[in-house]
Each structure stands twice: as structure tokens, then as C-alpha cells.
């Protein structure tokens, strides 16, 4: 429990750092981007909306930096992330529509790639030195390909050339949205190719990490013991793999950030209506409130995922629990 509390504290501090960075960045940058921004939109947005934007940046009144900071935090606590300049709607409501798509796509693909990669890595580690080793350079290549590039190639090959998968968007434009079978089926069909692209790009990392840990584990005495006892091979592999998987899970914190960063761009390639696509639009239009809102949401989501991984780790590794009890 102590470990969990420590981790939770870390995530709270991280969230605070991210929020503060969001507040400070526009102020530290040369050229005063906020003033430029407000000057630019004065003609297109109502004075009321400008007031809301200034508020969300903590710029509501003529205040010092500290007071601005508190105004900003208060606005944040009330869920006011400002108003998108280009879309004219509150950032929070725009995000509410985009986030479920991203969480669904990235969450599912992370689970798939972790499961397949770990399983494959365990196998590769067990059979090291065999012909399966020739998979390693291939896996390394896939690890090095930028997510968005692989996604583009797949979109081209399997989507527009071979027509195996429907592409562009998250569901067929002809079905009505809602809880009906046709819609759900179309969501699944449209999600397949982006999902495969993300899984393929992130798979190799898990696989190679797991392979190396597995090889290290195989040298341990307890594995030799298991063999000596005459346990069936499957059980021995499971024995070693269960221990090798722990560092993989401990590394999730690094990996989740990377996977999310990559996957956001996959959304962009497929015009998937998630946060990644939104982020590109925001960047292109210099829609600062939207960019900042997206960054905050992504960071908080990644932190939540990290915390989840910590809980799983604690549950899998009894040693951390005993240490905590002492």
C-alpha cells in the first residue's frame, strides 16, 4: 500500500507540473502568443467568448502572475478549459466527444499488443538461438517505423488498393448513430485497420523486452529446479514467463506515453474522430485553448493508465506487498 500511495503522490505531482506548464508556457514564450491570439480573433468571436478565453488562460482581470495562476486553477477545477477559437464551442464539450474514440482505440490496441507481444517474446526467449531468432531484425524494423508511416502504408495497401477494410472515419456515414447493431458493426469494421496499425507498431517493443527478460530468467535457478522436478515444458515456460513479465509491466509507464504519442498520429492518418485528429486541426489553426486542453486530457489519461499498471504490478508481484507491510 505504501508503494501505491507513493506512486499516487507522484502522479498528483506530475499532473500539477503539467497543469502549471500549461499555465506558464504561453507566458514564457517570446512574442506573447495569447495577446496575438486575442487580437486575431476579436473580429470573429463575440466579446463574451473572448472574456471566457481570457478567463481560461487566467487573464480575466488586471492581476499579478500569482493571482492569474489561481484564476486559472479555479477555472480548471470548474471544468472550464476555454473556448476553441476555430470551432467556437467549449473545449471541454469538444473533448467529451473525441475522448471515447481515442480511449477505445488506443486502450484496446495497447491491450492487444501487450498480450501478443509478451506471449511472442516469451516464446522467442525460450527458443533463443533457434531459427525464430531471425524474427528479431524484422521486429526491430517495425519498432523503428514511425506509427503514422506504417499507418499510411497500410491505409494505402489494405484500404484503398485491396479494399479489405473500410477507411477514413470511425463508422460508415450511411448508418444512424446509436445503439443499433448496424452502427456497432460498422464501428468495429472501421476500427480494425487503425487498431492493427497501432498493434503492429507497438508490438515489437513489448516482444523484444520480454525476450531479453525471458532469457535472463531462464538462467535462474528456480527454472532449472522446475525442469529438474520434471514439470511439463508448458509449466516451466509459464514459471519463467510469469517472472519475466514483471519488468514489462513496470516499464508500462514509459511505454504508455510512447504508444499514446504514436497512436494519436494514427488517428490523424485514418481521419479517426479522436483526440489525435483534433490535435492536428488545433495545431494547424493555432487554436491554443484546444491544444492545451488536449494536452491536459492526454496527460491525465496517461497518468491514470500508469496508476492502473501499478495496481496490476502490485497484484502480480507479492514481493512488493511484503516490503510494504514491513
Amino acid at each position: 500500500m505504501r508503494m501505491l500511495a507513493r506512486r499516487l503522490l507522484l502522479y498528483i505531482v506530475t499532473a500539477w507540473v503539467a497543469i502549471t506548464a500549461n499555465f506558464l508556457l504561453p507566458r514564457m514564450m517570446p512574442g506573447n502568443p495569447i495577446q496575438t491570439l486575442i487580437g486575431k480573433i476579436t473580429n470573429t468571436v463575440t466579446p463574451e467568448e473572448i472574456r471566457a478565453i481570457r478567463l481560461s488562460f487566467g487573464l480575466g482581470f488586471h492581476q499579478g502572475l500569482v493571482a492569474q495562476y489561481f484564476t486559472y486553477l479555479t477555472q480548471l477545477v470548474h471544468g472550464n478549459l476555454g473556448i476553441s477559437i476555430t470551432l467556437g464551442a467549449p473545449v471541454s464539450s469538444i473533448l467529451r466527444e473525441a475522448v471515447p474514440w481515442t480511449v477505445g482505440l488506443i486502450g484496446l490496441s495497447t491491450i492487444f499488443s501487450f498480450a501478443i507481444g509478451t506471449f511472442g517474446g516469451a516464446l522467442l526467449g525460450w527458443t533463443r538461438g533457434s531459427r525464430l531468432d531471425s524474427l528479431i531484425p524484422t521486429a526491430t524494423f517495425f519498432q523503428a517505423v514511425p506509427y503514422f508511416f506504417l499507418a499510411t502504408v497500410m491505409l494505402l495497401l489494405f484500404g484503398s488498393d485491396l479494399h479489405w477494410f473500410p477507411v477514413l472515419g470511425a463508422y460508415s456515414p450511411t448508418v444512424t448513430q446509436g445503439w443499433n447493431l448496424a452502427y456497432i458493426e460498422s464501428v468495429i469494421r472501421y476500427g480494425e485497420l487503425p487498431l492493427i496499425a497501432i498493434v503492429l507498431s507497438s508490438l515489437a517493443g513489448w516482444m523484444l523486452g520480454m525476450r531479453n527478460m525471458m532469457i535472463t530468467m531462464i538462467g535462474e535457478d528456480f527454472v532449472l529446479m522446475a525442469v529438474a522436478k520434471g514439470l511439463p515444458r508448458r509449466k516451466v515456460i509459464w514459471h519463467a514467463a510469469r517472472n519475466a513479465i514483471l519488468p514489462s509491466i513496470a516499464n508500462l509507464s514509459l511505454a504508455i506515453g510512447l504508444v499514446v504519442s504514436g497512436a494519436l498520429l494514427v488517428e490523424l492518418v485514418f481521419n479517426y474522430p479522436g483526440v489525435g485528429d483534433l490535435l492536428l486541426q488545433a495545431v494547424l489553426n493555432e487554436d491554443y485553448p484546444l491544444i492545451q486542453g488536449i494536452f491536459l486530457v492526454i496527460t491525465l489519461a496517461v497518468l491514470a493508465a500508469n496508476f492502473l499498471a501499478d495496481i496490476v504490478y502490485l497484484w502480480l508481484d507479492p514481493r512488493t506487498r511484503t516490503v510494504a507491510a514491513v
Binding site: 507522484l10 505531482v13 512574442g31 538461438g129 523503428a144 531479453n212 535472463t216 525442469v227 494536452f295
Partner: protein
């Protein structure tokens, strides 16, 4: 005397060759480029031919020239970022691991915070606020990327330093009365060289990805040619969907190849750090030459001798001869 073991595994050699090739391309690429990459003097959207090896863009620019010129920006930014991040992670990691106590708590907290914040989204936020002239500055971009990429190395180096800090030679240096900074950088750091090298390669790999990503979404100056900008223009002109593969495939393949090369070299370093991984990198023939069993059996950590071929002598025969 132990001679330095040259990389034996084919993986490492392939990796070194690939990385070497792209480093040469970084240095001489812009001179080799047949045309000015920005010149719009040619017919648009030509297919690859003897004059234009990779065809031309929709503006009539030579794609092969862009690829050659773009190598420099891509690699230089990645190397700069890798270097800066490695220096940062070395300082933080070794200090945290060696000093321990509250300094460790503080430094670890900082690196864990940076590790937990997703790097690329943070980069996008910072970069979107940058004035346009800074976006084309290699140093500015490299430093910003390094800021989001140093934490992992710091964590690994901290762990390694902790395992070294109580070794006899460090203890001895402490008793002699060496200064702490001196111990950290002249006693501890050299022993971390393989880990440092691995962390450097890893960061360069990350930096290439980050830089290309920023360029791809149009956040670096479009006046500087790099592989990401090429992909940006290809995407902006719908090259993938209209079948102009020669426009967007080459830069993507180059990025992937550099990454593969770096990762393969890293494999070699991993095998150096962790000998158990080493035998996996040998071919069947090399294993036979080294007198290792054909199939590496469980629990056996193969010991490789650099000088002599060990003969397998039955244990009882050895006893008799003694």
C-alpha cells in the same frame, strides 16, 4: 590482458553498417544532391526516371535531392537531442544514485515526473508556441526534444550507479578523500559506459521519431528540409491516396532504417552488458566453432573464450590426468 571484443554478432554488424551509411549521407548528402531541393524548375509529379531517381513533387521539386538534403537536418537534430539528453540524464542519474538520501528523492521525483508526462504531446504544445524563426533552429528544437527524452536514461543510470557506489574502488576513492563530483565523473561514470552508450542510442532513436513527428504535423519550419517535412508535403498533397508512393515511401523507409540500425547496435550493447543474451546472437557455425552445444540448453549460461577453443573434456578424465 583482455582484448576488446569486436562485435561478433551479425545483428550488430548490420546495425553498424546501416548507421554508418546514414552518417555518411548526413555529411555528404547535401553535396551529392543533384538539384536544389526547393527548386520548382521541373514538371510536377514525374514518376521515377534516370533524371529524377525518385520523381518530383506536385511543385516540381526533385524528391531524391530532398531525401539527400533532408538527411542532415534529421540526423543533426537527433544527434544534438541525444547528446543533450545523455548529458542531462548522466548528471541527474549518477548524482541521484551516488548521493542517495534526499537528493535522490528529489532528482528521482523530477525524472519520474518527466517520464510520466507523455513526451510528444508536450513537445507539440511547446512547439506550437515557438515563434517561426525558432522552429527552424536545430539547437532550439534539439534541446526541446532532449527535455522530453532524458528521463529514461537517468532512471537506468541511477540504478546502475547504486549498484556501483559501494564497490571497493569507489570506497577507496572516498577514503583517499576525492571530491564527490570527481568520484562521480571519473570513478563511477566510466564504468557506466555501456549503459550510457545504450541510453544515447535509445535517445537518438526517440529524437528522430519526435522530430519527424513534429515535422509531419507541420510544426517545424517548412523551409528546412528533413524527412518529416517531406512526409508532411506528401500528406498535404494527398500523395498516399493518389498512388505517388515514390513521394512518401522513401523518407519513411529511411527513418525506419536508421532506427533499425540504431536498435541493432543497441542489441549488441545489451549483449555486452548481459552475457546471457550473448549466445543468442551467434550463428550456428560460430557456436560450433566456440565449442558450444548445438542447442543451448536450459540453465546453461554459455561462457565464451576469446582466445582458445575450449575442448570438451569429460570431468573424470580431467581428474585422472591431475
Amino acid at each position: 590482458m583482455r582484448s576488446l571484443r569486436l562485435p561478433r554478432s551479425p545483428k550488430v554488424i548490420i546495425g553498424l553498417v546501416i548507421v554508418g551509411f546514414f552518417i555518411i549521407m548526413t555529411v555528404i548528402g547535401p553535396w551529392l544532391a543533384p538539384y536544389d531541393p526547393s527548386s520548382t524548375a521541373f514538371a510536377p509529379l514525374l514518376s521515377p526516371s534516370a533524371h529524377h531517381w525518385l520523381g518530383t513533387t506536385s511543385l516540381g521539386q526533385d524528391i531524391f535531392s530532398q531525401l539527400l538534403v533532408g538527411a542532415r537536418a534529421t540526423m543533426v537534430v537527433a544527434l544534438l537531442a541525444g547528446l543533450a539528453a545523455t548529458i542531462l540524464s548522466m548528471t541527474v542519474g549518477i548524482a541521484a544514485g551516488y548521493l542517495g538520501g534526499w537528493s535522490d528523492e528529489g532528482l528521482s521525483l523530477v525524472s519520474n515526473v518527466f517520464l510520466a508526462i507523455p513526451g510528444v504531446p508536450l513537445l507539440i504544445v511547446i512547439d506550437s508556441y515557438l515563434p517561426v524563426n525558432s522552429r527552424s533552429n536545430f539547437f532550439v528544437i534539439g534541446l526541446i526534444i532532449s527535455l522530453t527524452g532524458w528521463a529514461w536514461g537517468a532512471r537506468v543510470l541511477r540504478a546502475q550507479t547504486m549498484s556501483l557506489r559501494n564497490r571497493d574502488f569507489v570506497e577507496a576513492a572516498r577514503i583517499i578523500g576525492e571530491k564527490r563530483t570527481r568520484i562521480m565523473f571519473t570513478e563511477v561514470a566510466p564504468n557506466l559506459l555501456p549503459v550510457l552508450a545504450s541510453s544515447f542510442l535509445f535517445t537518438v532513436l526517440y529524437s528522430i521519431g519526435a522530430y519527424v513527428t513534429l515535422a509531419y504535423i507541420g510544426l517545424t519550419s517548412t523551409a528546412v528540409w528533413n524527412w518529416g517535412t517531406m512526409l508532411y508535403w506528401a500528406q498535404a498533397n494527398n500523395a498516399p491516396l493518389s498512388g505517388e508512393w515514390y513521394w512518401f515511401v522513401p523518407p519513411g523507409i529511411c527513418i525506419a532504417l536508421v532506427g533499425t540500425g540504431l536498435a541493432l547496435v543497441n542489441f549488441g550493447i545489451d549483449e555486452f552488458i548481459n552475457p546471457r543474451l550473448r549466445a543468442g546472437g551467434l550463428t550456428a557455425r560460430q557456436r560450433r566453432q566456440l565449442g558450444l552445444p548445438r542447442r543451448i540448453r536450459l540453465g546453461l549460461t554459455p561462457v565464451l573464450h576469446a582466445s582458445s577453443k575450449p575442448k570438451i573434456v569429460p570431468a573424470h578424465a580431467k581428474l585422472v590426468s591431475q
